[in-house]
Protein backbone atom coordinates (compact mmCIF):
# COMPACT_ATOMS: atom_id res chain seq x y z
CA UNK A 1 0.00 0.00 0.00
CA UNK A 2 1.35 3.41 -0.86
CA UNK A 3 1.19 6.16 1.71
CA UNK A 4 -2.46 6.98 2.33
CA UNK A 5 -3.39 10.66 2.49
CA UNK A 6 -3.02 12.43 5.85
CA UNK A 7 -6.76 13.01 6.01
CA UNK A 8 -9.60 11.73 3.93
CA UNK A 9 -13.18 12.37 4.89
CA UNK A 10 -16.33 11.86 2.89
CA UNK A 11 -19.83 13.24 3.27
CA UNK A 12 -19.37 14.21 6.93
CA UNK A 13 -22.57 15.30 8.64
CA UNK A 14 -23.03 16.56 12.19
CA UNK A 15 -26.18 18.05 13.66
CA UNK A 16 -26.87 19.73 16.97
CA UNK A 17 -30.63 19.52 17.41
CA UNK A 18 -32.09 21.30 14.41
CA UNK A 19 -28.84 22.97 13.46
CA UNK A 20 -26.69 21.26 10.85
CA UNK A 21 -23.12 22.19 11.73
CA UNK A 22 -21.47 20.06 9.06
CA UNK A 23 -23.45 19.20 5.96
CA UNK A 24 -21.94 16.51 3.75
CA UNK A 25 -18.36 17.80 3.86
CA UNK A 26 -15.61 15.93 1.98
CA UNK A 27 -11.86 16.62 2.04
CA UNK A 28 -8.52 15.13 1.19
CA UNK A 29 -5.34 16.44 2.81
CA UNK A 30 -2.05 15.15 1.36
CA UNK A 31 1.03 14.27 3.33
CA UNK A 32 3.40 17.12 3.88
CA UNK A 33 1.03 19.92 2.99
CA UNK A 34 -0.44 22.68 5.07
CA UNK A 35 -4.18 22.67 4.59
CA UNK A 36 -6.46 25.49 5.72
CA UNK A 37 -10.15 25.37 6.55
CA UNK A 38 -11.26 28.89 5.87
CA UNK A 39 -14.57 30.41 6.76
CA UNK A 40 -16.51 32.77 9.02
CA UNK A 41 -17.45 31.95 12.62
CA UNK A 42 -20.15 29.31 12.75
CA UNK A 43 -19.28 27.88 9.34
CA UNK A 44 -18.57 24.45 10.83
CA UNK A 45 -14.76 24.63 10.85
CA UNK A 46 -14.33 23.71 14.49
CA UNK A 47 -16.89 20.89 14.33
CA UNK A 48 -15.12 19.51 11.27
CA UNK A 49 -11.65 19.62 12.80
CA UNK A 50 -12.92 18.08 16.05
CA UNK A 51 -14.40 15.19 14.07
CA UNK A 52 -11.04 14.73 12.36
CA UNK A 53 -9.34 14.84 15.78
CA UNK A 54 -11.60 12.06 17.03
CA UNK A 55 -13.21 14.26 19.68
CA UNK A 56 -16.63 14.23 18.03
CA UNK A 57 -18.33 11.38 16.26
CA UNK A 58 -20.02 12.37 12.99
CA UNK A 59 -23.69 11.51 12.50
CA UNK A 60 -22.80 10.25 9.05
CA UNK A 61 -19.77 10.02 6.78
CA UNK A 62 -16.36 8.34 6.83
CA UNK A 63 -13.12 9.63 8.31
CA UNK A 64 -9.66 8.24 7.72
CA UNK A 65 -6.63 9.86 9.34
CA UNK A 66 -3.16 8.68 8.32
CA UNK A 67 -4.92 5.69 6.79
CA UNK A 68 -6.46 4.70 10.15
CA UNK A 69 -9.99 4.86 11.51
CA UNK A 70 -10.88 6.31 14.89
CA UNK A 71 -13.10 3.48 15.94
CA UNK A 72 -10.51 0.73 15.33
CA UNK A 73 -7.18 2.46 15.87
CA UNK A 74 -7.90 5.40 18.16
CA UNK A 75 -5.03 4.77 20.57
CA UNK A 76 -2.42 4.27 17.86
CA UNK A 77 -3.69 7.30 15.99
CA UNK A 78 -3.48 9.63 19.00
CA UNK A 79 0.21 8.78 19.33
CA UNK A 80 0.83 10.25 15.89
CA UNK A 81 -1.23 13.44 16.15
CA UNK A 82 -0.69 16.82 17.72
CA UNK A 83 -3.79 18.78 18.67
CA UNK A 84 -4.30 22.37 19.69
CA UNK A 85 -7.86 23.31 20.58
CA UNK A 86 -9.52 26.64 20.22
CA UNK A 87 -9.56 28.69 23.43
CA UNK A 88 -8.04 26.14 25.76
CA UNK A 89 -6.89 27.71 28.96
CA UNK A 90 -4.13 25.53 30.33
CA UNK A 91 -3.81 24.86 34.03
CA UNK A 92 -2.71 28.25 35.35
CA UNK A 93 -0.78 27.06 38.36
CA UNK A 94 1.53 24.71 36.53
CA UNK A 95 4.76 26.08 35.10
CA UNK A 96 5.59 26.02 31.41
CA UNK A 97 8.05 23.19 31.93
CA UNK A 98 5.66 21.14 34.07
CA UNK A 99 2.95 21.47 31.44
CA UNK A 100 5.26 20.27 28.70
CA UNK A 101 6.59 17.42 30.83
CA UNK A 102 3.01 16.29 31.47
CA UNK A 103 2.15 16.23 27.77
CA UNK A 104 5.43 14.67 26.79
CA UNK A 105 4.69 11.78 29.18
CA UNK A 106 1.63 10.73 27.18
CA UNK A 107 3.62 9.92 24.03
CA UNK A 108 5.78 6.87 23.40
CA UNK A 109 8.17 8.86 21.24
CA UNK A 110 8.76 12.57 21.07
CA UNK A 111 11.00 15.53 21.58
CA UNK A 112 12.80 16.41 24.80
CA UNK A 113 11.22 19.21 26.79
CA UNK A 114 14.29 21.43 26.38
CA UNK A 115 14.07 21.17 22.63
CA UNK A 116 10.36 22.06 22.68
CA UNK A 117 11.07 25.10 24.84
CA UNK A 118 13.74 26.25 22.43
CA UNK A 119 11.50 25.62 19.44
CA UNK A 120 8.76 27.96 20.65
CA UNK A 121 11.21 30.40 22.27
CA UNK A 122 9.91 29.94 25.80
CA UNK A 123 13.21 28.98 27.48
CA UNK A 124 13.18 32.12 29.57
CA UNK A 125 9.66 31.30 30.78
CA UNK A 126 10.49 27.74 31.78
CA UNK A 127 9.63 28.22 35.46
CA UNK A 128 6.80 30.75 35.03
CA UNK A 129 3.26 29.78 35.88
CA UNK A 130 1.06 29.43 32.81
CA UNK A 131 -1.30 31.99 34.35
CA UNK A 132 1.43 34.64 34.10
CA UNK A 133 2.06 34.20 30.37
CA UNK A 134 0.87 36.56 27.66
CA UNK A 135 -1.66 35.36 25.10
CA UNK A 136 1.02 34.76 22.51
CA UNK A 137 3.22 32.85 24.93
CA UNK A 138 0.32 30.63 25.98
CA UNK A 139 -0.53 29.89 22.39
CA UNK A 140 3.08 28.97 21.68
CA UNK A 141 3.04 26.70 24.72
CA UNK A 142 -0.15 25.07 23.41
CA UNK A 143 1.56 24.42 20.07
CA UNK A 144 4.64 23.10 21.86
CA UNK A 145 2.40 20.64 23.74
CA UNK A 146 0.89 19.59 20.42
CA UNK A 147 4.42 19.00 19.09
CA UNK A 148 5.51 17.04 22.17
CA UNK A 149 4.93 13.65 20.58
CA UNK A 150 6.77 14.53 17.34
CA UNK A 151 3.49 14.11 15.43
CA UNK A 152 3.08 13.28 11.76
CA UNK A 153 -0.01 15.45 11.61
CA UNK A 154 -0.80 18.63 13.47
CA UNK A 155 -4.36 19.95 13.98
CA UNK A 156 -4.64 23.62 14.91
CA UNK A 157 -7.94 25.37 15.56
CA UNK A 158 -7.51 29.12 15.05
CA UNK A 159 -3.93 29.11 16.29
CA UNK A 160 -3.33 32.84 15.99
CA UNK A 161 -6.74 34.36 16.72
CA UNK A 162 -6.39 37.26 19.10
CA UNK A 163 -2.60 37.46 18.92
CA UNK A 164 -0.57 40.56 18.13
CA UNK A 165 1.35 40.63 14.83
CA UNK A 166 4.68 39.75 16.40
CA UNK A 167 3.30 36.71 18.24
CA UNK A 168 1.62 35.60 15.02
CA UNK A 169 4.85 35.74 13.08
CA UNK A 170 6.64 33.79 15.80
CA UNK A 171 4.01 31.08 15.66
CA UNK A 172 4.01 30.97 11.87
CA UNK A 173 7.73 30.38 11.80
CA UNK A 174 7.31 27.45 14.23
CA UNK A 175 4.68 25.95 11.92
CA UNK A 176 6.79 26.51 8.82
CA UNK A 177 9.64 24.71 10.54
CA UNK A 178 7.38 21.76 11.34
CA UNK A 179 6.23 21.51 7.74
CA UNK A 180 9.73 21.92 6.35
CA UNK A 181 10.64 18.82 8.37
CA UNK A 182 7.93 16.87 6.54
CA UNK A 183 4.97 17.33 8.88
CA UNK A 184 1.38 17.79 7.75
CA UNK A 185 -0.77 20.60 9.14
CA UNK A 186 -4.54 21.05 9.13
CA UNK A 187 -5.61 24.40 10.53
CA UNK A 188 -8.74 26.50 10.71
CA UNK A 189 -8.62 30.23 10.41
CA UNK A 190 -10.63 33.23 9.43
CA UNK A 191 -7.44 35.16 8.89
CA UNK A 192 -6.67 35.75 5.21
CA UNK A 193 -3.00 36.58 5.66
CA UNK A 194 -2.48 33.42 7.62
CA UNK A 195 -4.15 31.26 4.98
CA UNK A 196 -2.29 32.87 2.09
CA UNK A 197 1.05 32.72 3.83
CA UNK A 198 0.95 29.28 5.44
CA UNK A 199 -1.39 27.11 3.42
CA UNK A 200 -0.59 25.13 0.30
CA UNK A 201 -4.26 24.54 -0.22
CA UNK A 202 -7.41 25.85 1.41
CA UNK A 203 -11.04 24.79 1.52
CA UNK A 204 -13.51 27.63 1.88
CA UNK A 205 -16.26 26.43 4.22
CA UNK A 206 -19.67 27.99 4.66
CA UNK A 207 -22.84 26.52 6.20
CA UNK A 208 -21.01 23.26 6.85
CA UNK A 209 -20.04 22.68 3.20
CA UNK A 210 -16.91 23.19 1.14
CA UNK A 211 -17.80 25.87 -1.40
CA UNK A 212 -14.35 26.16 -3.00
CA UNK A 213 -11.05 24.36 -2.73
CA UNK A 214 -7.59 24.88 -4.17
CA UNK A 215 -4.31 26.73 -3.91
CA UNK A 216 -4.81 30.23 -2.50
CA UNK A 217 -3.24 31.80 -5.59
CA UNK A 218 -5.48 29.83 -7.96
CA UNK A 219 -8.61 30.69 -6.03
CA UNK A 220 -7.68 34.36 -6.07
CA UNK A 221 -6.99 34.25 -9.78
CA UNK A 222 -10.18 32.49 -10.79
CA UNK A 223 -12.63 33.97 -8.30
CA UNK A 224 -11.17 37.03 -6.63
CA UNK A 225 -9.54 38.90 -9.46
CA UNK A 226 -12.57 39.98 -11.48
CA UNK A 227 -13.79 42.12 -8.61
CA UNK A 228 -10.49 43.81 -8.09
CA UNK A 229 -9.24 46.55 -10.30
CA UNK A 230 -6.52 48.46 -8.59
CA UNK A 231 -4.90 45.90 -6.31
CA UNK A 232 -4.08 42.25 -6.26
CA UNK A 233 -6.97 40.03 -5.20
CA UNK A 234 -7.10 38.29 -1.81
CA UNK A 235 -8.91 35.32 -0.32
CA UNK A 236 -11.31 37.80 1.18
CA UNK A 237 -12.35 38.66 -2.36
CA UNK A 238 -12.77 34.96 -3.09
CA UNK A 239 -15.10 34.57 -0.20
CA UNK A 240 -17.02 37.70 -1.21
CA UNK A 241 -17.38 36.40 -4.74
CA UNK A 242 -18.68 33.04 -3.49
CA UNK A 243 -21.11 34.20 -0.86
CA UNK A 244 -21.63 37.92 -1.25
CA UNK A 245 -20.56 38.31 2.39
CA UNK A 246 -17.42 39.28 4.19
CA UNK A 247 -15.53 36.63 6.11
CA UNK A 248 -15.63 38.62 9.26
CA UNK A 249 -18.57 40.74 10.23
CA UNK A 250 -16.52 43.67 11.44
Amino acid sequence: MTNPPAVRCERLTKRYGNVIAVDGLSLVVHRGECFGLLGPNGAGKTTTIEILEGLLRPDAGDVEVLGLEWRADGDALRQRLGVQLQETRLAEKLTVEETLRLFRAFYHRGRPVDELLRLVELESKRTSWVGKLSGGQRQRLAVACALAGAPDLLFLDEPTTGLDPRSRRQLWSVLEGFRAAGGTIVLTTHDMDEAELLCDRVAVVDHGRVIAEGRPADLIETLGAPRVVTRQGTLEDVFMALTGRHLRDD
Binding site: G54, L55, L56, A91, K93, E98, L102, A105
Partner: protein
Protein backbone atom coordinates in the same frame (compact mmCIF):
# COMPACT_ATOMS: atom_id res chain seq x y z
CA UNK B 1 3.83 3.79 38.54
CA UNK B 2 3.89 4.75 34.87
CA UNK B 3 5.29 8.08 33.74
CA UNK B 4 1.91 9.51 32.59
CA UNK B 5 0.30 8.56 35.91
CA UNK B 6 3.22 10.07 37.82
CA UNK B 7 3.06 13.33 35.86
CA UNK B 8 -0.72 13.58 36.22
CA UNK B 9 -0.45 12.99 39.97
CA UNK B 10 2.32 15.57 40.29
CA UNK B 11 0.20 18.06 38.35
CA UNK B 12 -2.68 17.42 40.73
CA UNK B 13 -0.48 17.88 43.80
CA UNK B 14 1.13 21.03 42.44
CA UNK B 15 -2.20 22.60 41.65
CA UNK B 16 -3.41 21.73 45.13
CA UNK B 17 -0.47 23.16 47.08
CA UNK B 18 -0.49 26.29 44.91
CA UNK B 19 -4.12 26.93 45.86
CA UNK B 20 -4.16 28.65 49.26
CA UNK B 21 -7.90 28.17 49.76
CA UNK B 22 -7.64 24.43 49.29
CA UNK B 23 -4.87 24.23 51.87
CA UNK B 24 -6.95 26.23 54.30
CA UNK B 25 -9.91 23.88 54.09
CA UNK B 26 -7.76 20.78 54.32
CA UNK B 27 -5.47 21.72 57.19
CA UNK B 28 -6.38 24.97 58.93
CA UNK B 29 -10.11 24.39 59.11
CA UNK B 30 -9.91 21.16 61.16
CA UNK B 31 -7.55 22.88 63.59
CA UNK B 32 -9.91 25.82 64.00
CA UNK B 33 -12.76 23.40 64.48
CA UNK B 34 -10.77 21.48 67.08
CA UNK B 35 -9.79 24.68 68.92
CA UNK B 36 -13.40 25.80 68.99
CA UNK B 37 -14.38 22.42 70.38
CA UNK B 38 -11.60 22.58 72.96
CA UNK B 39 -13.01 25.86 74.19
CA UNK B 40 -16.57 24.57 74.20
CA UNK B 41 -15.62 21.32 75.94
CA UNK B 42 -12.81 22.11 78.38
CA UNK B 43 -10.59 19.45 79.85
CA UNK B 44 -11.86 17.30 82.75
CA UNK B 45 -13.12 19.01 85.89
CA UNK B 46 -16.44 19.56 87.58
CA UNK B 47 -18.19 22.58 86.17
CA UNK B 48 -20.66 24.45 88.39
CA UNK B 49 -24.31 24.16 87.40
CA UNK B 50 -25.73 27.41 86.00
CA UNK B 51 -28.86 28.35 87.97
CA UNK B 52 -30.95 31.48 87.56
CA UNK B 53 -32.59 33.36 90.42
CA UNK B 54 -35.74 35.32 89.76
CA UNK B 55 -36.53 38.56 91.59
CA UNK B 56 -38.66 38.40 94.74
CA UNK B 57 -38.83 39.44 98.41
CA UNK B 58 -36.88 36.37 99.61
CA UNK B 59 -34.37 36.47 96.79
CA UNK B 60 -31.45 37.41 99.04
CA UNK B 61 -31.94 34.49 101.45
CA UNK B 62 -32.58 31.92 98.71
CA UNK B 63 -29.56 33.24 96.78
CA UNK B 64 -27.31 32.86 99.82
CA UNK B 65 -28.47 29.26 100.33
CA UNK B 66 -27.75 28.37 96.68
CA UNK B 67 -24.33 30.03 96.70
CA UNK B 68 -23.39 28.17 99.85
CA UNK B 69 -23.80 24.85 98.01
CA UNK B 70 -20.53 25.50 96.19
CA UNK B 71 -21.27 23.70 92.90
CA UNK B 72 -23.78 26.26 91.63
CA UNK B 73 -23.05 29.27 89.44
CA UNK B 74 -25.86 31.67 90.30
CA UNK B 75 -27.21 34.39 88.04
CA UNK B 76 -29.81 36.89 89.19
CA UNK B 77 -32.30 37.50 86.42
CA UNK B 78 -34.69 40.35 85.76
CA UNK B 79 -38.16 39.11 84.72
CA UNK B 80 -37.58 40.15 81.09
CA UNK B 81 -34.39 38.08 80.88
CA UNK B 82 -35.77 34.77 82.10
CA UNK B 83 -37.04 33.20 78.89
CA UNK B 84 -33.98 34.22 76.91
CA UNK B 85 -31.54 32.93 79.54
CA UNK B 86 -33.23 29.52 79.52
CA UNK B 87 -33.40 29.36 75.77
CA UNK B 88 -29.73 30.26 75.29
CA UNK B 89 -28.63 27.74 77.88
CA UNK B 90 -27.14 30.47 80.14
CA UNK B 91 -29.02 28.86 83.01
CA UNK B 92 -30.61 25.44 83.10
CA UNK B 93 -33.19 26.14 85.78
CA UNK B 94 -34.68 29.28 87.31
CA UNK B 95 -35.45 29.35 91.02
CA UNK B 96 -38.37 31.63 91.95
CA UNK B 97 -38.01 32.62 95.63
CA UNK B 98 -41.55 31.76 96.73
CA UNK B 99 -42.37 29.82 99.89
CA UNK B 100 -41.74 26.94 99.12
CA UNK B 101 -39.59 27.74 96.06
CA UNK B 102 -40.77 27.25 92.49
CA UNK B 103 -38.54 25.78 89.77
CA UNK B 104 -38.90 26.84 86.16
CA UNK B 105 -37.20 24.45 83.76
CA UNK B 106 -37.67 22.32 80.71
CA UNK B 107 -38.11 18.77 81.98
CA UNK B 108 -37.23 17.34 78.57
CA UNK B 109 -33.63 18.59 78.88
CA UNK B 110 -31.27 16.40 80.86
CA UNK B 111 -29.13 19.30 82.05
CA UNK B 112 -32.23 21.12 83.31
CA UNK B 113 -33.37 18.12 85.34
CA UNK B 114 -29.86 17.85 86.81
CA UNK B 115 -29.81 21.55 87.68
CA UNK B 116 -33.21 21.27 89.33
CA UNK B 117 -31.99 18.41 91.55
CA UNK B 118 -28.81 20.27 92.50
CA UNK B 119 -30.72 23.45 93.39
CA UNK B 120 -33.41 21.51 95.22
CA UNK B 121 -30.89 19.66 97.34
CA UNK B 122 -29.03 22.86 98.19
CA UNK B 123 -32.23 24.58 99.36
CA UNK B 124 -33.51 21.61 101.33
CA UNK B 125 -30.18 21.29 103.11
CA UNK B 126 -30.21 24.99 103.91
CA UNK B 127 -33.74 24.55 105.28
CA UNK B 128 -32.36 21.97 107.71
CA UNK B 129 -33.28 18.68 106.04
CA UNK B 130 -31.59 15.87 107.93
CA UNK B 131 -29.47 13.61 105.77
CA UNK B 132 -30.34 9.94 106.35
CA UNK B 133 -26.80 8.96 105.34
CA UNK B 134 -23.88 10.20 103.34
CA UNK B 135 -22.85 7.95 100.47
CA UNK B 136 -19.19 7.41 99.84
CA UNK B 137 -18.15 8.47 96.33
CA UNK B 138 -15.53 7.03 94.03
CA UNK B 139 -14.80 9.50 91.28
CA UNK B 140 -13.71 7.68 88.11
CA UNK B 141 -12.58 9.22 84.84
CA UNK B 142 -12.91 6.68 82.02
CA UNK B 143 -10.54 7.71 79.23
CA UNK B 144 -12.40 8.30 76.00
CA UNK B 145 -15.78 8.62 77.61
CA UNK B 146 -16.10 12.39 77.23
CA UNK B 147 -18.13 13.95 74.43
CA UNK B 148 -15.06 15.61 72.94
CA UNK B 149 -13.28 12.26 72.72
CA UNK B 150 -16.23 10.84 70.86
CA UNK B 151 -16.46 13.92 68.66
CA UNK B 152 -12.90 14.12 67.31
CA UNK B 153 -12.99 10.90 65.25
CA UNK B 154 -16.24 12.21 63.74
CA UNK B 155 -14.56 15.48 62.83
CA UNK B 156 -11.73 13.55 61.20
CA UNK B 157 -14.21 11.47 59.20
CA UNK B 158 -16.10 14.59 58.19
CA UNK B 159 -12.87 16.24 57.07
CA UNK B 160 -11.84 13.23 55.01
CA UNK B 161 -15.20 13.33 53.26
CA UNK B 162 -15.44 17.10 52.70
CA UNK B 163 -11.89 17.72 51.58
CA UNK B 164 -11.96 14.76 49.24
CA UNK B 165 -15.24 15.56 47.59
CA UNK B 166 -14.82 19.33 47.34
CA UNK B 167 -11.21 19.06 46.25
CA UNK B 168 -11.86 16.56 43.51
CA UNK B 169 -15.24 17.95 42.49
CA UNK B 170 -13.95 21.45 41.96
CA UNK B 171 -10.67 20.59 40.28
CA UNK B 172 -12.35 18.23 37.81
CA UNK B 173 -15.21 20.57 36.91
CA UNK B 174 -12.79 23.47 36.57
CA UNK B 175 -10.63 21.43 34.22
CA UNK B 176 -13.75 20.64 32.21
CA UNK B 177 -14.78 24.31 32.13
CA UNK B 178 -11.36 25.34 30.91
CA UNK B 179 -11.47 22.57 28.27
CA UNK B 180 -8.36 21.03 29.77
CA UNK B 181 -10.15 17.68 29.92
CA UNK B 182 -11.00 17.92 26.24
CA UNK B 183 -7.41 18.71 25.43
CA UNK B 184 -6.17 15.82 27.52
CA UNK B 185 -8.41 13.31 25.76
CA UNK B 186 -7.22 14.64 22.43
CA UNK B 187 -3.77 13.43 23.53
CA UNK B 188 -2.94 9.73 24.01
CA UNK B 189 -3.53 10.04 27.76
CA UNK B 190 -5.36 7.02 29.20
CA UNK B 191 -8.60 8.16 30.76
CA UNK B 192 -8.25 5.86 33.74
CA UNK B 193 -4.87 7.46 34.51
CA UNK B 194 -6.48 10.85 34.94
CA UNK B 195 -9.02 9.53 37.44
CA UNK B 196 -6.40 7.45 39.25
CA UNK B 197 -4.15 10.50 39.57
CA UNK B 198 -6.96 12.30 41.40
CA UNK B 199 -7.12 9.40 43.84
CA UNK B 200 -3.34 9.25 44.32
CA UNK B 201 -3.22 12.98 44.91
CA UNK B 202 -5.73 12.49 47.69
CA UNK B 203 -3.71 9.74 49.32
CA UNK B 204 -0.68 12.03 49.66
CA UNK B 205 -2.64 14.66 51.55
CA UNK B 206 -4.66 12.25 53.60
CA UNK B 207 -1.75 11.73 56.01
CA UNK B 208 -1.48 15.29 57.32
CA UNK B 209 -5.23 15.77 57.02
CA UNK B 210 -5.89 13.00 59.51
CA UNK B 211 -2.75 13.42 61.59
CA UNK B 212 -3.27 17.12 62.39
CA UNK B 213 -6.67 16.86 64.13
CA UNK B 214 -5.70 13.52 65.63
CA UNK B 215 -2.55 14.96 67.21
CA UNK B 216 -4.41 18.04 68.34
CA UNK B 217 -7.07 15.88 69.97
CA UNK B 218 -4.54 13.68 71.70
CA UNK B 219 -2.04 16.32 72.82
CA UNK B 220 -4.27 19.30 73.59
CA UNK B 221 -7.64 17.79 74.42
CA UNK B 222 -6.32 14.64 76.05
CA UNK B 223 -8.19 12.23 73.79
CA UNK B 224 -6.89 8.69 74.23
CA UNK B 225 -5.55 6.84 71.18
CA UNK B 226 -6.10 3.23 72.10
CA UNK B 227 -5.69 1.67 68.69
CA UNK B 228 -2.54 1.32 66.59
CA UNK B 229 -1.46 4.08 64.24
CA UNK B 230 -1.36 1.47 61.48
CA UNK B 231 -5.03 0.62 61.96
CA UNK B 232 -5.97 4.31 61.96
CA UNK B 233 -3.96 4.77 58.77
CA UNK B 234 -5.67 1.86 57.02
CA UNK B 235 -9.15 3.07 57.97
CA UNK B 236 -8.32 6.62 56.86
CA UNK B 237 -6.87 5.39 53.58
CA UNK B 238 -9.85 3.25 52.71
CA UNK B 239 -12.18 6.08 53.74
CA UNK B 240 -10.25 8.65 51.73
CA UNK B 241 -10.31 6.50 48.59
CA UNK B 242 -13.98 5.81 49.10
CA UNK B 243 -14.83 9.50 48.98
CA UNK B 244 -12.48 9.94 46.02
CA UNK B 245 -14.67 7.55 44.06
CA UNK B 246 -17.81 9.38 45.12
CA UNK B 247 -16.23 12.75 44.34
CA UNK B 248 -15.26 11.61 40.85
CA UNK B 249 -18.75 10.31 40.22
CA UNK B 250 -20.28 13.59 41.45
CA UNK B 251 -17.92 15.49 39.13
CA UNK B 252 -18.36 13.19 36.15
CA UNK B 253 -21.04 15.19 34.36
CA UNK B 254 -21.46 18.80 35.61
CA UNK B 255 -20.26 21.63 33.39
CA UNK B 256 -20.44 24.47 35.94
CA UNK B 257 -19.13 25.11 39.43
CA UNK B 258 -22.68 25.92 40.57
CA UNK B 259 -23.88 22.51 39.45
CA UNK B 260 -21.09 20.63 41.21
CA UNK B 261 -21.63 22.65 44.40
CA UNK B 262 -25.28 21.70 44.40
CA UNK B 263 -24.55 18.04 43.82
CA UNK B 264 -21.88 17.92 46.53
CA UNK B 265 -24.16 19.57 49.05
CA UNK B 266 -26.94 17.20 48.15
CA UNK B 267 -24.68 14.19 48.67
CA UNK B 268 -22.88 15.38 51.80
CA UNK B 269 -25.53 17.22 53.79
CA UNK B 270 -27.49 14.07 54.73
CA UNK B 271 -24.26 12.52 55.97
CA UNK B 272 -23.39 15.58 58.06
CA UNK B 273 -26.64 15.00 59.90
CA UNK B 274 -27.16 11.24 59.77
CA UNK B 275 -23.71 9.73 59.99
CA UNK B 276 -22.94 10.37 63.63
CA UNK B 277 -20.51 13.27 63.37
CA UNK B 278 -21.89 15.46 66.16
CA UNK B 279 -24.38 13.15 67.81
CA UNK B 280 -24.91 9.42 67.85
CA UNK B 281 -26.76 7.66 65.04
CA UNK B 282 -28.74 5.93 67.81
CA UNK B 283 -30.84 9.10 68.05
CA UNK B 284 -32.60 8.25 64.80
CA UNK B 285 -35.55 5.86 64.65
CA UNK B 286 -35.04 2.21 63.79
CA UNK B 287 -36.73 2.55 60.42
CA UNK B 288 -33.93 4.88 59.27
CA UNK B 289 -31.10 2.71 60.58
CA UNK B 290 -30.59 0.54 57.47
CA UNK B 291 -30.07 3.70 55.42
CA UNK B 292 -27.84 5.33 58.01
CA UNK B 293 -25.68 2.25 58.45
CA UNK B 294 -25.21 1.96 54.68
CA UNK B 295 -23.78 5.49 54.35
CA UNK B 296 -20.02 5.67 53.84
CA UNK B 297 -19.48 8.39 56.43
CA UNK B 298 -21.28 6.30 59.06
CA UNK B 299 -18.95 3.42 58.28
CA UNK B 300 -15.89 5.66 58.39
CA UNK B 301 -16.89 7.30 61.69
CA UNK B 302 -17.75 3.97 63.29
CA UNK B 303 -14.46 2.46 62.18
CA UNK B 304 -12.42 5.49 63.31
CA UNK B 305 -14.09 5.49 66.73
CA UNK B 306 -13.58 1.75 67.08
CA UNK B 307 -9.83 1.92 66.37
CA UNK B 308 -9.12 5.23 68.12
CA UNK B 309 -11.28 4.91 71.22
CA UNK B 310 -11.78 1.19 71.66
CA UNK B 311 -8.43 0.04 70.34
CA UNK B 312 -10.01 -2.24 67.76
CA UNK B 313 -7.83 -3.90 65.12
CA UNK B 314 -8.37 -4.04 61.38
CA UNK B 315 -10.29 -7.32 61.56
CA UNK B 316 -12.84 -5.84 63.94
CA UNK B 317 -13.75 -3.08 61.48
CA UNK B 318 -13.69 -5.37 58.43
CA UNK B 319 -17.37 -4.87 57.67
CA UNK B 320 -16.98 -1.09 57.66
CA UNK B 321 -13.90 -1.31 55.45
CA UNK B 322 -15.68 -3.53 52.94
CA UNK B 323 -18.61 -1.12 52.81
CA UNK B 324 -16.24 1.81 52.30
CA UNK B 325 -14.35 -0.05 49.59
CA UNK B 326 -17.60 -0.74 47.78
CA UNK B 327 -18.52 2.95 48.02
CA UNK B 328 -15.16 3.75 46.45
CA UNK B 329 -14.90 1.18 43.67
CA UNK B 330 -18.43 1.22 42.26
CA UNK B 331 -18.62 5.02 41.87
CA UNK B 332 -15.08 5.06 40.43
CA UNK B 333 -16.08 2.61 37.70
CA UNK B 334 -19.32 4.48 37.06
CA UNK B 335 -17.37 7.74 36.84
CA UNK B 336 -14.98 6.22 34.31
CA UNK B 337 -17.97 5.05 32.28
CA UNK B 338 -20.01 8.27 32.35
CA UNK B 339 -17.28 10.90 32.58
CA UNK B 340 -17.86 13.92 30.33
CA UNK B 341 -14.53 14.84 28.77
CA UNK B 342 -15.61 17.38 26.15
Amino acid sequence: MTEPLLQLTLARLREFVREPEALFWAFVFPIIMSVALAVAFPAPGVRPVPVGLAAGPDAAAVGAALRAAGDIALRELAPAEEVRALREGEVHVIVVPTEPPTYRFDASRDESRTARLVADQALKRAAGRPEPWTASEEPVVVPGSRYVDWLIPGIIGLNVMSTGMWGIGFSVVQARLRKILKWLVASPMRKGDYLLAQALGRVVFLGPEVAVPLAFGALVLGMPINGSIGAIAVVSLVGGLSFTGLGLLAASRPRTLEAISGILNLVMLPMWVLSGVFFSTANFPGALQPVIQALPLTALNDALRAVILEGAGIAAVGAELILLAAWGVVPFLLALRFFRWT
